[in-house]
């Protein structure tokens, strides 16, 4: 069912006049109703497509039958009050649900007084307060009196880990980290010494580089208080918030805050529960879409996939990963139909303009009154016509409209123009449109320059039309100067080798290989050991209770019997040449394989402890060794009287300042298994923060219900494990009791962390980067979690960061999905805006090679210019960093050439 917008999308140019004239102010839901917007609106300034719509429930015309102000003022006649709800039927081979979550609404709970105290806000409201586009334009002020808060508190786990008040037993996974982030940003925002305190139960900064951020937050003076607040009171005069809590020593503390932020958790909205019923997909007890550890994005109904927080609370990178993963699932179903619905476009042959004297056409847009109302467009046009090489200058009401485009193409041909300037809105949105017109008119798309006289001129200098006109003239002159130096640029086409290389034969690598193969691609799978399976070979059960070994052997045999997958065991890579679409990889047996893309899934390994008597006493084992005992059905486990788990062994320590993410869940699950084996076994878990994120929290609860005892320790006072006359003694200081405890266990399980493989050599071969901890670094921590900055290479599994099986699988599928976007195209076009080296001028100083984030420059290996730099256009992103850093002036950036920019500078 498509809701009516009451706006003709093809006509709306998002000039904003309608919203300016609309008399009806309504609460702005994007700003959590803290600000106002009009009844005709765009959701937010960066919305895509940037088109307005009318809120029918608020619009005066719809409510009272008169007004129609927007219709009257709309310069393009885009308003259509007759727009109707439309039933759209789509034929689809697969469905992906990415419907998200809603934040928990704390208003019904008297503890938080959210509904009645003005200065108690939810974390999402607080995000909007911090935002430049938020209700207070990014000024950090509190709602009651717009005063800058001196003291802000965050209250964690509101609507999470709580079955008494909200029935959400799960952890919402993201709140600890966003609270730390909000506190840090607030500190940065405030130019005074802001007191920021976070009240928490367990600090769950388990993601990649999160722990370091947490440590940094502590250094920045953010207070972390382990306490659950039981009362919030408001000072009726000042509207300050008074809180009481028991600190770690059990003493009652009273503090007053200017603002209190509730770190609200995630939940599935009720209407989504209904949708799930309609779709016939299963939900779990927490109302999240039910998925499996080995099928992380598949719902219970075949063909319907899920990604993001609808299948459980998760953060951005995990959601993005799952999105790609779900796309891989859908793509698999649809792979036979690939490219069957594409249409081909006719493109006229490009006119060769090399050697021609520039003949510039300047097209100036009035954008209705948006530009024309401020800037004197006719005078800019007349001025433009006087500029050197300008053959033709015109203006139109809307240069971007369909008919203007046709006219432009006609004029280009009639006047024999070979350079075009458009002075209008922003090239960020409209450059491609005009470039297409150029191409349609037989010109190269790079002999074009767009200058922005709307967003960066008329709109922002409303009060000084003369100055705005002068500025517009300058901008047009600069653009004309630049465009006269523009040359047609070639976009090179590169064939993409349809074969794939997967490095690493663990779960992630095998899933990647299998997924690629199912989509019809040939795969080389390289594993450095003699067998497939990786770390999963050592695991007994997943946290959801699946038997790892049976699933693993199924996977291994399906990979081994797959005709599309060629497996190289006991093999390592020794050299990689080439680039996206055309890699040539040499293996240690001198075999050379050619492939278009590569997936790096080299995994991680268990940290071998040297602490806590490990290796000196057979009763001290790591948790993988305990799994081995479970797998072997070791009888000794039944007889254990006292078992002690020690968490964070090798993790969250100065040498390895990251959290290994999986150990808490692993230990809790193992603790439960021990209890299942023998309920009389006393099980103690010595921990720093229990990080059973998401629905894993429910395991933590189960463990406590089964009588597992959790004792917290701090980094400063780590447990002491000693052998006293053949007995193992574990001593620890209990923070709650504030006294020492001694346990005599007959089994000590070390939750030893996950460390990266030695990735250095591989990183060098593929020109990838690793972070300080030795894990591979993705292209963007949030938005490109499986891509590398190096194109054509993708990342999956624990080589990226420690993670459980379901996340490794999702990431492997996601990596494939991303890889297929390249493979499916069969060819890659290389942008014309790339750097170019002039070897004669090169001094071989290698600055470009060191400074380029994409490894595009290299030294020529043979021929007369051996040792001089060259740029691989396939790798170059056109940022120009190398060009600016080249002392010798040997580099230039096509499309943003030194001469072109100099020409612009000269015209100012």
């Amino acid at each position: 069912m498509k809701h009516p917008r009451f706006i003709d999308m093809s006509k709306c140019i998002a000039c904003g006049t309608c919203a300016e004239k609309c008399p009806k102010k309504v609460d702005d839901p994007f700003n959590e109703n803290m600000g106002k917007r009009k009844a005709i609106y765009v959701d937010y300034a960066q919305a895509v497509p940037l088109k307005y719509s009318i809120n029918k429930d608020e619009c005066l015309y719809f409510k009272k039958g008169k007004c129609r102000a927007c219709e009257k003022f709309c310069p393009t006649g885009a308003i259509n009050y007759e727009d109707k709800e439309e039933k759209v039927v789509l034929q689809a081979g697969a469905v992906i649900l990415s419907t998200g979550f809603k934040t928990f609404n704390p208003s019904t709970f008297p503890t938080y007084q959210y509904a009645s105290f003005e200065n108690v806000v939810t974390s999402l409201e607080y995000e909007r307060i911090l935002s430049a586009t938020g209700p207070y334009q990014g000024h950090l002020v509190r709602p009651s009196d717009y005063k800058e808060p001196q003291k802000i508190g965050w209250l964690q786990c509101v609507g999470s880990r709580d079955i008494n008040r909200c029935d959400h037993p799960y952890c919402s996974s993201v709140c600890c980290m966003y609270a730390v982030k909000e506190a840090m940003i607030s500190k940065e925002h405030a130019d005074y010494d802001l007191d920021a305190a976070i009240f928490f139960m367990d600090m769950r900064t388990y993601g990649k580089d999160f722990e370091k951020y947490y440590e940094r937050a502590k250094e920045h003076g953010i207070r972390f208080v382990r306490a659950r607040l039981h009362t919030l009171e408001e000072d009726p005069e000042t509207k300050d918030i008074k809180v009481r809590y028991a600190d770690e020593k059990g003493e009652i503390q009273v503090e007053t805050f200017d603002m209190m932020v509730l770190s609200v958790g995630m939940e599935t909205p009720a209407e989504l529960v209904e949708t799930a019923k309609t779709l016939g997909i299963g939900l779990d007890t927490d109302n999240f879409a039910a998925t499996g550890v080995f099928t992380p994005v598949e719902t219970s109904r075949k063909g319907i996939y899920v990604c993001g927080a609808f299948s459980g609370p998760k953060d951005i990178p995990q959601s993005v990963t799952e999105a790609s993963s779900a796309a891989a699932g859908a793509g698999l179903l649809l792979s036979s139909a690939r490219n069957t619905l594409t249409k081909e476009k006719h493109i006229p042959e490009e006119r060769n303009i090399i050697g021609e004297r520039p003949r510039i056409g300047i097209f100036i847009c009035q954008c209705g009154i948006n530009i024309g109302g401020i800037v004197n467009v006719p005078s800019v046009r007349d001025y433009a016509a006087t500029l050197p090489y300008v053959e033709y200058a015109t203006d139109s009401l809307y240069t971007c409209s369909q008919d203007s485009q046709e006219t432009m193409a006609k004029i280009i041909n009639e006047k024999g123009l070979n350079r075009v300037v458009v002075a209008a809105c922003t090239p960020k949105t409209h450059e491609p449109l005009f470039q297409e017109t150029l191409v349609d008119a037989g010109l190269n798309k790079y002999v074009f320059e767009m200058t922005n006289i709307r967003n960066q001129c008329s709109w922002v200098h409303k009060d000084s039309p003369e100055m705005a006109t002068a500025k517009a003239k300058d901008l047009v002159r600069m653009a004309a100067a630049k465009v006269s130096l523009m040359e047609p640029l070639k976009e090179t086409e590169l064939e993409v080798d349809q074969r794939a290389l997967v490095v690493g034969g663990g779960i992630a690598g095998m899933v990647a290989a299998k997924t690629l193969s199912s989509q019809g691609y040939q795969v080389y799978l390289v594993e450095q050991t003699g067998s497939l399976g990786g770390n999963a070979l050592l695991l007994s059960k997943t946290w959801r209770g699946d038997d790892v070994q049976s699933r693993l052997s199924e996977l291994i045999s399906s990979v081994e019997s797959d005709k599309n997958i060629e497996i190289y065991k006991d093999t390592k890579l020794t050299n990689v040449e080439g680039f996206v679409g055309n890699f040539k990889t040499t293996l240690n047996d001198q075999n050379v394989i050619e492939h278009g893309i590569a997936v790096i899934a080299t995994g991680g390994k268990e940290y071998i402890p040297n602490e806590y008597l490990y290796g000196k006493d057979p009763r001290v084992v790591t948790h993988l060794e305990l799994d081995k005992m479970f797998l072997a059905g070791d009888q000794r486990l039944k007889d254990v009287k006292n078992a002690v788990f020690i968490q964070c062994v090798g993790s969250r320590v100065p040498e390895r300042p990251y959290c290994s993410r999986v150990c808490c869940t692993h230990s809790v699950k193992s603790a439960i298994n021990l209890k299942e084996n023998n309920p009389d076994t006393n099980v103690y878990v010595l921990y720093r923060d229990i990080r059973t994120y998401g629905q894993r929290e429910e395991l933590y609860k189960e463990a406590r219900n089964r009588g597992v005892i959790f004792i917290r320790y701090s980094l400063e006072e780590r447990p002491v494990v000693e052998n006293i006359n053949g007995r193992i003694s574990v001593r620890i200081k209990d923070h709650i009791l504030q006294q020492g405890i001694a346990i005599d266990p007959d089994l000590v399980v070390l939750a030893s962390g996950i460390i990266p493989q030695d990735n250095e050599a591989l990183a060098q071969m593929f020109k990838l980067s690793v972070n300080e901890d030795g894990f591979f670094m993705e292209a963007h921590a949030k938005l490109r979690p499986v891509d590398f900055a190096t194109e054509g290479v993708f990342l999956a599994g624990m080589a990226h960061y420690p993670k459980p099986i379901e996340e490794s699988i999702a990431q492997a599928q996601a990596a494939v999905s991303r890889a297929v976007t390249l493979l499916a195209r069969k060819k890659v076009m290389v942008s014309g805006t790339v750097a170019q080296a002039n070897p004669v001028m090169c001094s071989s100083c290698s600055v470009c090679i060191d400074i380029c984030p994409y490894s595009a420059p290299s030294f020529i290996k043979q021929g007369p210019f051996t040792g001089k730099a060259e740029i691989n256009p396939a790798l170059c992103k056109g940022c120009g960093l190398c060009v600016a850093s080249c002392r010798s002036g040997a580099l230039n950036l096509k499309g943003f050439g030194t001469d072109q920019i100099m020409a612009m500078i000269n015209e100012i």
């Binding site: 004669v840 001028m841 090169c842 001094s843 071989s844 100083c845 290698s846 600055v847 060191d850 400074i851 984030p853 040792g867 850093s885 002392r887 010798s888 002036g889 040997a890 030194t898 001469d899 100099m902 020409a903």
Partner: protein, 316 residues
């Protein structure tokens, strides 16, 4: 000082004879006193031309650029740091080099000496320990070397080579308590107008002869920016703006790379103290990036790499 000469000759001879190096780069006595010249020796029998005293003021690293053969070279503190920079910047490889390290006690400022003798023609100079005697027609004067050091040597804190295969003598004590940036700080304290006045006056005499550029081991580009023609944005004449642009860019190209060897000032025919440009950059490199050029053979200069935690207080 002088005693190094014999060791240098012996070493060079041995290296050339054994075929360990194809050429040996050192200094020889200049045709004019106080102006020692670089020399490249390939014949082991000619090593006696080699010479070392406190008047070896040019940077030998300049002669290494892009050589393909095996080279023996002598290097004191600053020269050795330039060799490190050369290796980092791919101008020569470590394997090609046999570096004979010289613990340096500073180079004498020939201009200061001339001033001290009233610009009379000096016909001979002899060095004895920490003193030296200059003589000419009808005069002979002995000075303390320490008082006649070049200004860069006077504040040098890296007298010993940072990279070498052998040393001609044990390291000398590094100077302590010197402030390399005293002069920079003085200028920093001026207001913009004074500063501009100071620098415009300073380069007024510049002939655009590019001796400073050519004597600098860092300036090895095939085409210098001042000679670029597409676009030609810096004029080639002695227009004050063009001259200033040249000096700013020349200095900036040395940012994070300059070892303050002083060769540029030594060769300037009109005596422009152009180290005032580069020293400011050296000071900032030290303050912002804890960086001194050529000390670490494994690290690129700070402006060649980007780190998220780079100094960025100037950014709004």
């Amino acid at each position: 000082m002088i005693e190094y000469t014999a060791i240098i000759r012996d070493t060079a001879k041995k290296l050339l004879k054994d075929g360990k190096v194809d050429v040996f780069i050192g200094y020889k006595k200049g045709t004019v006193p106080m102006m020692n010249e670089p020399v490249v020796i390939s014949d082991p029998e000619k090593v006696d031309t080699l010479h070392w005293d406190s008047l070896c003021g040019l940077n030998l690293c300049n002669y290494l650029t892009k050589r393909k053969d095996k080279i023996g070279i002598i290097a004191n503190g600053c020269n050795s740091r330039n060799i490190v920079t050369h290796i980092l910047e791919n101008q020569i490889s470590r394997e090609q080099l046999y570096i004979v390290g010289i613990p340096c006690t500073g180079v004498i400022d020939h201009r200061a000496v001339l001033r001290a003798v009233g610009n009379k023609e000096v016909l001979d100079v002899q060095e004895q320990g920490d003193k030296f005697t200059v003589s000419g027609n009808g005069f002979s004067e002995t000075f303390d070397k320490a008082k006649f050091l070049r200004t860069n040597c006077a504040v040098c804190t890296h007298r010993n080579p940072v990279i070498y295969d052998e040393m001609v003598a044990s390291p000398v004590k590094e100077q302590e308590g010197v402030d390399p940036f005293e002069d920079v700080k003085k200028i920093e304290a001026m207001d913009p107008e004074k500063k501009w006045g100071f620098f415009t006056k300073m380069i007024e005499r510049c002939l655009r002869c590019y001796a400073c550029r050519n004597s600098c081991p860092l300036c090895y580009c095939p085409t210098c920016f001042v000679d670029e023609s597409k676009p030609q944005w810096v004029g080639k004449s002695i227009d004050p703006t063009d001259t200033m642009t040249f000096h700013i860019m020349r200095a900036y190209h040395c940012a994070g790379r300059c070892t303050d060897c002083g060769a540029c000032e030594r060769v300037c025919p009109v005596g422009i103290p152009m180290r005032q440009f580069t020293k400011k950059l050296n000071k900032d490199a030290l303050e912002y990036f804890s960086w001194e050029a050529g000390l670490n053979p494994d690290a690129r200069p700070p402006l060649d790499v980007y780190k998220p935690d780079d100094y960025n207080d100037f950014v709004k």
